[in-house]
């Protein structure tokens, strides 16, 4: 008989091993899925995980890996702080949209004036936009005790409608023949978040993501605020004795994650995406939640998890192209990753006992 026994302390070993086990399990189960679809599973796994890094044209794919991973890492770093404190911001997608709208609006308003401080000002506005959107669920929670999970999630839909309104209305390109979508910022030098070195994929958002990893590491490990956040999440009552003011913590966490998500949106709209359109957001805000957990809510883990997630996207496209795998199979594959991670997480908190020693 197999029983689960709760561990007195979460296992450090399993906490760091489960992501690896989950990745391997995903490869096995995914390989089975691909085999059922009539593809060679070994080849499929190679195309997804190996070819983008070391296959033909890997230079290009490596640069795209950074482009795809940067917003995920930046957003996930902010979310992880809140998740550690038990504050659940599920609405990063909305904060990402609002950040993009705020920053892009400035550029579109002053177009075509050129100035070196336009881009920095856009970044600041992007952060402010995301911060304000995160502040709404924070204040509602502090004042009325509403659930930040629901409010932040619902605000994503509000943000999406606002985005559609902007793309079809005030921000619509006046030279766009009536088609929806703003001017393309890639054609506006002062506002364009271009690659810093051609062909590397590194734009300001990639540097910001790396900066966030370092900053969040320092905050969580070396700073009293980080200590308070961790205590608040792990032992809320003890935290009060340690001088934690819950209201302040809620506002801090939601504003921080909102600001980082807003910046991610701004870097995206001014760089790789270039344009405010109604379909500008592609789910980075949601995927970042997976990345945060896959990375164990630790900045270094998030860095690796973000790159891994980006790899499944890019490798997934390659698998479609080279092996004719349907995109739904790739999505199932990505879903498996989270599923196995959560499943194996059981091992962190529980021990498996075989044989019934005590009844």
């Amino acid at each position: 008989m197999i029983r689960l026994v709760k561990r007195p302390m979460p296992s450090k070993f399993w906490s760091w091993t489960t992501p690896l086990v989950a990745v391997i399990a995903t490869m096995i189960a995914g390989g089975l899925l691909f085999a059922i679809l009539g593809k060679n599973p070994v080849e499929a796994i190679r195309v997804i995980f190996w070819d983008p890094l070391f296959g033909p044209n890997a230079d290009y794919f490596r640069s795209q890996l950074l482009v795809k991973a940067a917003p995920l890492i930046l957003i996930a770093c902010g979310l992880a702080v809140g998740f550690r404190a038990g504050i659940w911001n599920i609405g990063a997608e909305g904060q990402y949209i609002i950040g993009a709208i705020f920053g892009a609006s400035l550029a579109l308003a002053v177009y075509p004036a050129e100035s070196w401080f336009l881009f920095p000002a856009m970044v600041v506005l992007g952060a402010i936009g995301g911060l304000l959107w995160g502040l709404i669920p924070a204040l509602l929670k502090v004042v009325f005790g509403t659930s930040e999970i629901l409010v932040s999630l619902m605000l994503v839909y509000v943000a999406q409608n606002l985005l559609a309104y902007m793309a079809f209305g005030p921000l619509k390109n006046p030279e766009g023949y009536g088609f929806p979508g703003s001017r393309n910022l890639q054609g506006y030098p002062s506002a364009f978040n271009d690659e810093l070195m051609a062909g590397t994929g590194v734009h300001w958002g990639v540097l910001a993501a790396l900066g966030a990893v370092v900053a969040i590491y320092v905050l969580m490990q070396r700073h009293i605020a980080g200590f308070r956040i961790r205590v608040a999440g792990e032992a809320p009552r003890a935290a009060r004795y340690a001088g934690v003011v819950p209201a302040r913590l809620i506002v801090f966490c939601l504003c921080l994650s909102g600001a980082l998500a807003g910046m991610a949106g701004l870097f995206e709209v001014s760089g790789p995406s270039g344009q405010i359109t109604d379909s500008f957001n592609v789910g980075y805000g949601y995927t970042a939640i997976i990345v945060a957990f896959l990375g164990r809510l630790h900045p270094v883990g998030i860095l690796l998890a973000g790159l891994l997630m980006a790899l499944t996207y890019i490798g997934g496209d390659m698998a479609q192209l080279m092996l004719g795998l349907p995109s739904a199979a790739i999505q199932v594959f990505q879903g498996m990753l989270l599923f196995f991670l959560l499943g194996f997480d059981l091992l962190t908190n529980y021990r498996i006992r075989i044989g019934g020693a005590r009844a």
């Binding site: 033909p56 044209n57 290009y60 795209q64 482009v67 795809k68 559609a164 079809f168 209305g169 619509k172 023949y177 009536g178 088609f179 929806p180 393309n184 890639q186 995206e268 790789p272 995406s273 270039g274 344009q275 359109t277 109604d278 379909s279 500008f280 592609v282 996207y313 890019i314 496209d317 390659m318 479609q320 192209l321 080279m322 004719g324 349907p326 995109s327 739904a328």
Partner: protein, 360 residues
């Protein structure tokens, strides 16, 4: 030119020719596609993929085709297009309006690759555009709906307030009004090309308002299913024939036929005559097909619709022929006048009689 250099150059040519020709015969032309939806959407992307298969059938082992489906519009499209180009595709079709800027960017980076963008308006040395005159099919739908409606209310599920859709709404209304002066058109904006749940909601709302015809500019069959459930409500297949819903609610359809275009352009790429052009084909060139008009339509209405189809196909009649006024009552087209293609392609107003405001 002295003799020796003549000889060497001929020899060189011969070598190039000798090595080039078999290589060309052995290396098929690689043709890539990106789709915005899944190939199984049974609408827009499905039709593009059917045309890809038709082209593959036509040219057999002279071409190799591959595709990436479900590509979000934006940076992901740019990556997908780059991937296709890096993998050696020499002709690439980007099959959604939202891929426009991404296609322009990638075309710039790969000057030797030929690109084709559907429904856009930006061209380049190696970037052509192609589109279909869907409004021609809408004129026929408007005629049938105007004749058959009992409630005098026609519902229209709009995807996005862009010119292509506005043309469709106007064409339906103008032709319904021609045969039935009491007719009204109601538009619901779904803000999606493919979302069965939203489309079903939009259809239900229109049916609840008393529309007995529900026309869709979105790609799923959800509105067809809603109409079937409701009983005496009729629909038209969109993008694909949607024949599973015939003879009722689906009474006819507008079918996107990209096959003739893809076959023609791939052929031109094969024999080296491909040029960047802007193509806008209609019923006449076979790019817009009218699906079988079912028995639910009275014989004389069917005859009238088919006659209209023939007149549009031959170019004798343009669905936008004056006198026509804009919604605000201002003059648009004088008696007998027709609009230029450029003006039509940017249509951003309703014609007189359409109720509701066009979102700006």
């Amino acid at each position: 030119m002295n003799r020796r250099s003549f000889l060497t150059s001929t020899a060189a040519t011969a070598v190039v020719a000798a090595s080039g020709l078999p290589a060309r015969a052995a290396d098929p032309l690689k043709v890539g596609f990106i789709y915005v939806g899944p190939v199984g959407d049974m609408g827009w992307s499905y039709q593009h993929d059917q045309a890809r298969l038709a082209a593959q059938q036509e040219y057999g082992d002279r071409i190799v085709t591959s595709y990436i489906e479900n590509v979000p519009e934006g940076p992901d499209a740019e990556r997908a297009l780059t991937q296709l180009a890096l993998q050696g595709n020499q002709l690439i079709f980007a099959t959604s309006f939202g891929f426009m800027d991404a296609t322009v960017n990638v075309a710039k980076k790969f000057p030797n690759v030929k690109f084709e963008h559907a429904t856009g308006y930006k061209q380049a040395e190696n970037l052509a555009t192609y589109d279909a005159r869907f409004y021609e099919g809408r004129a026929i739908q408007g005629t049938i709906a105007g004749r058959m409606t009992k409630t005098n209310k026609i519902g229209y599920i709009g995807s996005f307030p862009i010119p292509e859709v506005v043309q469709g709404i106007n064409a339906v209304y103008i032709h319904a009004k021609k045969v039935n002066p009491d007719v009204e058109i109601k538009v619901v904006w779904a803000y999606t090309w493919f979302d069965p749940a939203k489309e079903a909601d939009a259809a239900a709302a229109l049916i609840a308002e008393g529309c007995d015809f529900v026309l869709q500019h979105t790609d799923s069959t959800a509105p067809q299913a809603k109409a079937q459930e409701a009983g005496n409500v009729f629909t038209f297949g969109q993008a694909s024939d949607m024949i599973a819903f015939a003879p009722k609610p689906r009474v006819s359809s507008t079918i996107d036929h990209w096959d003739p275009y893809y076959i023609k352009r791939i052929g031109e790429a094969l024999d080296g005559t491909w040029k960047p052009e802007a193509t806008w084909g209609g019923i006449g060139t076979g790019m817009v097909g009218i699906g079988e008009i079912s028995d639910a339509v009275p014989a004389e209405v069917k005859e009238e619709a088919l006659a209209l189809k023939d007149r549009i196909a031959s170019g004798e009649y343009h669905p936008f022929t004056g006198p026509l006024k804009k919604q605000d009552g201002s003059e648009w087209l004088a008696e007998g006048a027709t609009p230029e293609d450029g003006e039509l392609a940017g249509m951003n107003f309703f014609v007189e009689g359409v109720s509701g405001e066009l979102p700006k």
